[in-house]
C-alpha cells in the first residue's frame, strides 16, 4: 500500500516539476508548482513528517503560491519564447549530467541505511509537539535567526516594491501635469487613512519628497 502511494506521489511530484519547466505560460507554471508541492507533501507524510507536510501545504501551496499568482497577474505573465543563447541546448545536457552523477553517487554509496526502510518508528516522531520542543531547546538560535530573517525580508520587500516618486520618468511627467496632487497621495500614510492633511503650502515645483515630508507636523 505504501509503495503504491509512493509511486503515485513521486510521479505527481516529478510531473509537476516537469510542468513548471516545460509549460509556456507563467500562470500554468505556477499551477504546476502547486501540484508538485501537494505531491511532495504526500511524500513527506509517507516519511512520517506530519508537521513538515502540513506546513508545506499551508505555507507553500497556500500562502507563497497566492503571492506568485498575484505577481503573475500584476505583470501580465504572457508566453515567453525560448532563450537565444547556447544554454537552450546546453542546459538540459548539464541537468542530465547532474542527474546521472547524483544517481551514481546514490548507487555507489557505502551508506547502509538507504536500502532500509528507515529507523524503527517511535510514536510521536514528527508531530508538532516534538518539532516545537526541538525548536525551543536544541535549535533555539536558528529559530530566532529565521524569524529575524523573515522580518528583514518583509521590510526589504516593502522597500523594494514601494511606489517611489521622482524616480520613474512617467511619474515625474504626471506630477508636472497635476501639480496640485498632495505629496502623500499613494503613500502609506494615505493607505492608513490619514487623509485629513491640509494642502502643503509650498509651491508645486518645490514639492518635498514624500519620504522626507514631515507627516505629523502638517495636521
Amino acid at each position: 500500500m505504501s509503495a503504491v502511494l509512493f509511486f503515485i506521489a513521486a510521479i505527481g511530484a516529478i510531473t509537476g516539476a516537469v510542468g513548471v519547466v516545460m509549460l509556456g505560460s507563467q500562470f500554468y507554471s505556477v499551477l504546476a508548482l502547486v501540484i508538485h508541492l501537494v505531491a511532495l507533501a504526500a511524500l513527506f507524510l509517507l516519511l512520517r513528517a506530519e508537521f513538515v507536510a502540513a506546513a508545506q501545504v499551508i505555507v507553500y501551496a497556500g500562502a507563497v503560491m497566492v503571492l506568485y499568482v498575484f505577481v503573475v497577474a500584476y505583470v501580465g505573465g504572457g508566453d515567453e519564447e525560448a532563450t537565444r543563447s547556447g544554454l537552450r541546448f546546453l542546459g538540459p545536457l548539464l541537468a542530465l549530467a547532474l542527474a546521472v552523477e547524483l544517481c551514481v553517487a546514490l548507487l555507489g554509496t557505502a551508506l547502509k541505511g538507504i536500502s532500509s526502510k528507515g529507523a524503527r518508528f517511535v510514536p510521536g516522531f514528527g508531530t508538532p509537539a516534538d518539532i516545537g520542543k526541538l525548536f525551543l531547546t536544541k535549535f533555539l538560535l536558528p529559530f530566532e535567526l529565521a524569524s529575524l530573517l523573515l522580518l528583514v525580508a518583509a521590510v526589504g520587500a516593502i522597500v523594494l516594491a514601494r511606489r517611489r516618486r521622482g524616480l520613474e520618468p512617467d511619474e515625474e511627467r504626471e506630477a508636472r501635469y497635476h501639480p496640485r496632487l498632495p505629496a502623500w497621495v499613494g503613500s502609506m500614510a494615505e493607505a492608513g487613512g490619514l487623509t485629513r492633511f491640509e494642502e502643503p503650502p509650498a509651491p508645486p515645483a518645490a514639492e518635498p519628497e514624500p519620504e522626507s515630508a514631515p507627516i505629523g507636523s502638517q495636521s
Binding site: 505504501s2 509512493f6 513521486a10 511530484a13 516529478i14 516539476a17 513548471v20 519547466v21 507563467q26 505556477v30 508548482l33 508538485h36 511532495l40 516519511l47 513528517a49 508537521f51 513538515v52 505555507v59 500562502a63 507563497v64 506568485y68 505577481v71 505583470v75 505573465g77 515567453e80 525560448a82 537565444r84 543563447s85 544554454l87 537552450r88 542546459g91 538540459p92 548539464l94 541537468a95 542530465l96 542527474a99 544517481c103 546514490l106 538507504i114 536500502s115 526502510k117 528507515g118 529507523a119 524503527r120 516522531f125 514528527g126 518539532i131 526541538l134 536544541k138 529565521a146 523573515l150 528583514v152 525580508a153 518583509a154 520587500a157 516593502i158 522597500v159 523594494l160 516594491a161 524616480l167
Partner: protein
C-alpha cells in the same frame, strides 16, 4: 519503500529545477525553478531524518522553507520594481551586472 527511492526522486527533481533555471528566461519562472531545487533538498533532508530516526532533518527542512519564503518575497519585490520601471522581464536582457 526504501529510503534510496526517495533520494532518487529528490535527485530527479533537483536536476529538473536546475535545467529550468538554465533554460527559462522569465525571472518569475527562474524563481519557481529555484523553489523546485529547494524542495528537492527538503525531500532529501526529510528522507535522511527518517533514515536516522532523528527529527533534526525535519527542523532543517522547516528552516529551509523559511529561507525559501524570504527569497520569494525579495525576488517578487524585485520583479514588481523592475516592472514599474518598464524594464524587460527577461534574464537574457538584464545583463548589466554581467562582467
Amino acid at each position: 519503500m526504501a529510503i534510496g527511492w526517495y533520494l532518487a526522486v529528490s535527485a530527479v527533481i533537483f536536476s529538473i529545477g536546475a535545467a529550468g533555471v538554465l533554460v527559462r528566461r522569465s525571472p518569475l519562472v527562474v524563481l519557481l525553478c529555484l523553489e523546485l531545487m529547494l524542495n528537492a533538498a527538503n525531500l532529501a533532508l526529510v528522507a535522511f531524518s527518517r533514515m536516522w530516526g532523528s527529527e533534526d532533518g525535519q527542523v532543517f527542512a522547516l528552516i529551509v522553507m523559511v529561507i525559501a519564503a524570504c527569497e520569494v518575497t525579495v525576488g517578487l519585490g524585485l520583479i514588481v520594481a523592475m516592472y514599474r520601471r518598464r524594464m524587460p522581464l527577461d534574464v537574457d536582457d538584464l545583463r548589466e551586472l554581467q562582467g
